[in-house]
């Protein structure tokens, strides 16, 4: 959005006319310039926390194992970059049990998932975590394709593809992971 202020300075030139020299026109040149910084903004989402709820079956053949957790989505409405060649990136950290005690044999304390940031460029940003049953492993990052035009859109973030390493039993308790969505200029390699 742009606002413009118009400041007008008026100078009145008044003086005795020299007797000899008279001009009936004159001109002066003024340059007009404006500055707009490059800016990306991510919209305020409806939730800052994505809760998967209860993650295991409590009865049946898969009792104690990962339940069929559905996809979870959040929107970042009205996100924009006012310059060309921006990229959306998603960084995901797998869910691990809040209790740091290593998991016993036959148990896992981590849940991997895939995070997808969509509706920015032709290719979505996708990151799939790959930690082991103890939760060891780095966070993963994925970037979408370059958006060559300035863009204003509702970016969608979806969590899907939940997977417990080894499909083992999950230790009880609360689990926490995280996802970070970033909008930034395309990274240009240094010359």
């Amino acid at each position: 959005m742009k606002t413009m202020s118009l400041i007008v300075a008026t100078a009145l030139l008044v003086g005795a006319a020299p007797a000899a020299l008279a001009q009936d026109s004159d001109s002066a040149k003024v340059s007009v310039t404006g500055q707009v910084a490059k800016l990306c903004v991510l919209g305020t989402p409806s939730n800052a926390v994505i809760d998967l709820g209860q993650m295991v079956d409590t009865s049946g053949a898969r009792v104690g194992k990962r339940a069929a957790i559905g996809n979870k989505s959040v929107t970042l409405p009205g996100s924009f970059c006012n310059f060309a060649n921006s990229v959306v990136t998603v960084n995901a950290t797998a869910l691990t049990a809040d209790d740091a005690t290593p998991a016993q044999s036959g148990f896992a304390r981590a849940v991997n998932f895939t995070a997808t940031a969509s509706n920015w460029a032709s290719t979505n940003a996708v990151a799939t975590t790959t930690v082991d049953r103890q939760g060891a492993g780095a966070a993963t990052t994925g970037s979408g394709s370059v958006q060559s035009l300035p863009k204003l859109a509702d970016i969608g973030l979806t969590l899907s593809g939940y997977d417990v390493p080894g499909d083992l039993l999950l230790v009880s308790g609360g689990y926490t992971g995280s996802v970070t969505v970033t909008l930034a200029p395309e990274a240009v390699p240094a010359p």
Partner: protein
Amino acid sequence: MSRPALSHMRKDRRTAAVRALACVAALGALASGGVAAADSAAATRTMAVSGSTPEICALQPGAVQTGSLVNMTGLDGDTLRVAQFADPRTLAVRAADATLSISAVCNFPHKVRVQSENNGMWPGDGSQKLDANGFTSAVPYRARVTWNGASNTLETDARVRHQVEDELSVNSPAVGNVELHVEIAPGASNSQANAPLLAGTYTDTLRIFLEPL
């Protein structure tokens, strides 16, 4: 600057997706706190243990109760022998007495049956048909069975040679010793008291049965 998506009037999918998310988020919040974990926090398995005890009666070989022998030599295998059956002067039957102890058990309500094969002691092969008046041709005696605190007496009268028996009901399991008291009275006779005995070997067979009611 703000362009909240929900305020858009266009019915595009983006808007619809955002509205739907609001509902899902609410359900998610309910589900995560309230599932009945109480039922699944404990697990129980019960297994039955079964067996059976069949009805059993068991009798061990008998033994003579110490000090109970009168005019008996003892138990020879399963034979009680009278030492001196007849008085040497009068040939009347001499008193004889013995009590046997037979270790026994029945683990269910049962009866004890005492059976005399001949209804008295008879000579030889029983073909004696001498109707010898005044003589004793068969000897009556008494067999008393005591078991589990109750007694029953079988009286043989030696008049007719046949099987006789008597029984005693025991309405519970019992374990202990069956006491068999064989008693030959002095002068016992199938004709008249003290009648002299005809010559021969006099025998009878007593059987004890422990069996279902």
